[in-house]
């Protein structure tokens, strides 16, 4: 299992600081990283190595916690503890901050673009999730302020094809939101985790959602639309969500991130025990009660907490990770034989 995940290289991305998050651009050619040094860095390959192509350092007054590329790849959003979200426009190797989204009361914890490219979501320690709309003139307007969570909201992620938004919180729940008339509403609350939910990832089809938590488990949730074959009850016209699998006993500390590979379906986790793990669904398992096997476990992947794992969207098996140690590492994952 050790050989299933092989180190390709490391870069000291945010020296003397934490590297908090990574995002591959849709083309898979660039990797954005962000950190406690208040900067965003853009990495690309030159031959066999990864080099820093741009540094976006004038955007934020405090830690940059998350970055997200727009579906078209021309914009990058950065969410910061300074309570703002910057929108950067890419012009070859240059990035220009075209707008700063304000309004959250305190630290913005996450930002995510909807698949349409017209909507953006942010979430904050102020317990709220905001939905923003962008028009043709790159003007952003707040469309909804959602106060469903009762604590700090850690992460937001959009469904891969629908305008369905998911959020994860310190209140131990995952919530889902959709548009209704001229506003957004919370249409589901997923309960089950016993502690802070740190991150979320939809599977390639969008039918399932993975969540990871301070309770050291990963949970897989499945969407059951009304009148589903399995007879899962729904109230009204909203789908129900059920937890169909819990991965427990694999992680010895908080799981900070989970990433679901859109090419292969492999699940990678970033853990506070400095390790990276990969899980794959057993092909013969029941879709309503799937089982996942641990196919890679790399202890000491970093010298400190691993904060993020990110699968390259175009190159199978290419995984990037980052850590409190300020480094970004690149890995080649290969499914072990006989699984």
């Amino acid at each position: 299992m050790k050989d299933s995940l092989v180190l390709l290289g490391r870069v000291p991305a945010h020296p003397d600081s934490r590297c908090w998050f990574l995002a591959w651009n849709p083309a898979g050619t660039l990797l954005a990283s962000c950190g406690g040094d208040r900067s965003v860095r853009i990495w690309g390959t030159e031959g066999d190595s990864w080099i820093c192509k741009s540094v976006l350092s004038e955007g934020h007054q405090r830690t940059v916690r998350k970055v997200a590329w727009s579906p078209c790849g021309n914009y990058l959003a950065s969410a910061s503890f300074d309570a703002t979200t910057c929108i950067w426009k890419k012009n070859q190797d240059d990035f220009e901050c075209v707008t700063t989204l304000e309004g959250h009361e305190n630290e913005v914890k996450s930002v995510a673009w909807a698949p349409s490219g017209n909507l953006l979501a942010t979430c904050s320690r102020d317990k709220s999730v905001w939905v923003w709309e962008v028009d043709e003139e790159d003007e952003y307007e707040c469309v909804s302020v959602l106060n469903s969570h009762t604590q700090d909201v850690k992460h937001v992620v959009w469904h891969p094809s629908q305008e369905l938004l998911a959020s994860a919180s310190y209140d131990d729940t995952v919530k889902l939101y959709r548009e209704e008339e001229d506003d957004w509403v919370c249409c589901a609350t997923l309960e089950g985790h016993e502690s802070t939910v740190w991150s979320l990832a939809f599977d390639p089809s969008g039918q399932r959602l993975a969540s990871c938590s301070d309770d050291r488990t990963v949970r897989i949730w499945r969407q059951y639309p009304p009148d589903n074959e399995q007879g899962v009850a729904c109230s009204g016209s909203d789908p129900s969500w059920k937890c169909i699998c819990t991965l427990s006993g694999f992680h010895s500390r908080t799981i900070y991130d989970v990433a679901w590979c859109q090419l292969t379906g492999a699940l990678a986790t970033a853990c506070g025990d400095d390790a990276i793990r990969v899980f794959e669904e057993d092909p013969s398992s029941d879709p309503q009660q799937p089982t996942f096997s641990l196919t890679a476990h790399l202890p000491q992947a970093h010298s400190q907490d691993v904060n993020c794992v990110a699968w390259n969207p175009k190159e199978q098996g290419l995984l990037a990770s980052c850590s409190d140690d300020g480094e970004v590492a690149f890995w080649k994952y290969q499914r072990p034989e006989g699984i």
């Binding site: 304000e102 309004g103 009361e105 305190n106 904050s124 320690r125 102020d126 317990k127 709220s128 709309e133 307007e141 707040c142 469309v143 909804s144 302020v145 106060n147 469903s148 604590q151 700090d152 001229d182 506003d183 509403v185 919370c186 249409c187």
Partner: protein
């Protein structure tokens, strides 16, 4: 579907899940910064805090002795002064259980000597009346008369309608806008002008955008506070009483009006009395009715009171322009007439991105002469303020309200029983709209009061009694008060 939390700023510690209406503006997870009074005993050493099942706190010292700790009480004044938690009111205990306060005063009156009694005046808002009318299935007129009967049964002396004081708020807003529009060349902050009748909006503006936003706010007092001036100045004189001898209660559709009433600007240093002593929400009036075992519909109606004889009517009157006072409508029509000589019969509202954000324009020969908007609810206020900050606010005047759908949907209104909340809101809107409207210029008694009580429109007295000012609140210093 749950949109928890009613009201912008104040709410007692209860969370109702089923209400799709006003939302708390998600404020920070900050601990209240009001310092706890802790009596330190010398050489006490380390004490442990023990919490009993009933929620009371006991300090257990090293020798095992226990001492019950006093709950920290937060007064409304403290709330106003701080820019910390403000909302998410679960953790803030509000000392004034308002309908109980009213009871205390009424009970005290029963046993007090005649010279020591207080004259109790209740001013009811048309929005609260509409909410009660819906619950008890009465017309607004019957509700007004039966409420009057109810309050008088409890020992209240006079019951007024804040639609009367609203005339002054509207007239002053109209005048102020025209003045500022004409004075645009002399001041970059003359326009846009924002309404200021909503205390939720005002508190947010003072605390979050302070000195930036304040110059744009209308200085006209809200109907509640104009009534405060009317009752404690005009009416007190009429009754030959000093203002402190009157206990003035208002009935309002939200909790934020309690904060407004406790602003230092509305406290008379000279007479050591507030213009409004107590605010009860529609819900708290309902509680009073329940506690008295009274069903409003079964009461015999009583005649309505009025502040001056020429204003007496046996039916309430109201104003056009929606359930939040009609500021945009009145200012628009007045400005069109005064500034451009254009008579506007009907004001047409054009909804923008959502129904709480609407636009009104006055055009002539292709030119836009006036561009007004309504912005209700936090998301629309956010967008408005951000536009203003970027210098891209196209409006001359904006009617701003904190609650989506406006005051009829306030956090203190009666909640729906069984029926969906949307249907109830529509019903309340319909009842509100049933009341005959009158142009403020034509309401009997108003012009007379300007003449006799205020010594003329635009006078110094009018400025003092019908206007107010705002104060930027410094953000609580970081570090100690913020939990990272």
């Amino acid at each position: 579907m749950a949109m928890p939390r009613a009201g912008l700023l104040l709410r007692k510690a209860s969370r109702s899940e089923a209400r799709p209406s006003p939302r708390v503006w998600g404020r920070g997870e900050r601990d209240c910064i009001k310092p706890m009074k802790v009596d330190k005993r010398p050489g006490g050493g380390v004490a442990k805090i023990h919490i009993e099942d009933d929620g009371s706190y006991f300090q257990v010292s090293q020798d095992g002795g226990t001492q019950k700790l006093e709950k920290a009480k937060i007064s409304l004044d403290d709330c106003l002064a701080c820019s910390g938690c403000v909302t998410s009111a679960e953790t803030v205990l509000i000392t004034q259980q308002s309908h109980e306060e009213l009871r205390k005063v009424l009970d005290a009156n029963k046993t007090a000597a005649p010279g020591q009694q207080r004259l109790v005046v209740v001013s009811v808002s048309p929005q609260s009346r509409a909410s009660l009318a819906a619950r008890f299935q009465l017309t607004p007129t019957d509700t007004a008369r039966k409420l009057t009967a109810f309050f008088k049964k409890l020992g209240v002396h006079y019951v007024f309608d804040t639609a009367f004081s609203r005339n002054f708020s509207l007239l002053e807003s109209q005048r102020e806008f025209v003045q500022r529009f004409r004075g645009q060349a002399n001041s970059t902050q003359a326009l846009p002008m924002f309404t200021s009748a909503c205390p939720g909006w005002i508190c947010y503006a003072e605390k979050t955008h302070g000195s930036f936003l304040i110059p744009y706010l209308s200085t006209a007092r809200s109907p509640q506070q104009v009534m405060g001036s009317l009752v404690k100045d005009f009416f007190a004189q009429q009754q030959h009483l000093t203002p402190d001898r009157i206990y003035h209660v208002t009935v309002m559709p939200c909790y934020d009006k309690k904060l407004e009433a406790s602003r230092p600007d509305f406290f008379s240093q000279e007479h050591q009395t507030r213009d409004v002593d107590c605010v009860v929400t529609t819900g708290e009036v309902f509680k009073l009715l329940e506690e008295e075992g009274v069903s409003l519909s079964q009461l015999e109606p009583a005649p309505l009171d009025s502040l001056c004889s020429s204003a007496s009517a046996q039916e309430p009157t109201s104003h056009r322009g929606g359930g939040s006072g009609g500021y945009l409508e009145h200012v628009f029509q007045h400005a069109a007439r005064e500034l451009f000589g254009i008579h506007v019969d009907e004001v047409t509202y054009r909804p923008l991105r959502n129904k709480d954000f609407q636009e009104v324009t006055l055009e002539k020969e292709g030119r836009v002469l006036l561009h007004f908007a309504t912005a209700y609810g936090f998301r629309n206020i956010q967008n408005l303020v951000q536009k203003l900050k970027r210098g891209r606010c196209p409006y001359h005047y904006v009617e701003v309200m904190a609650c989506p759908a406006g005051c009829l949907n306030g956090g203190g209104q009666l909640k729906a029983l069984g029926t969906p909340s949307k249907a109830l809101l529509q019903h309340v809107e319909m009842l509100y709209g049933m009341v005959r409207t009158e142009a403020p210029e034509e309401v009997p008694g108003v012009q007379e009061l300007y003449r006799c009580w205020l010594q003329g429109e635009g006078s110094e007295r009018a400025g003092h009694l019908l206007h107010t000012s705002y104060h930027a609140v410094e953000k609580a210093s970081s570090g100690l008060s913020i939990r990272w």
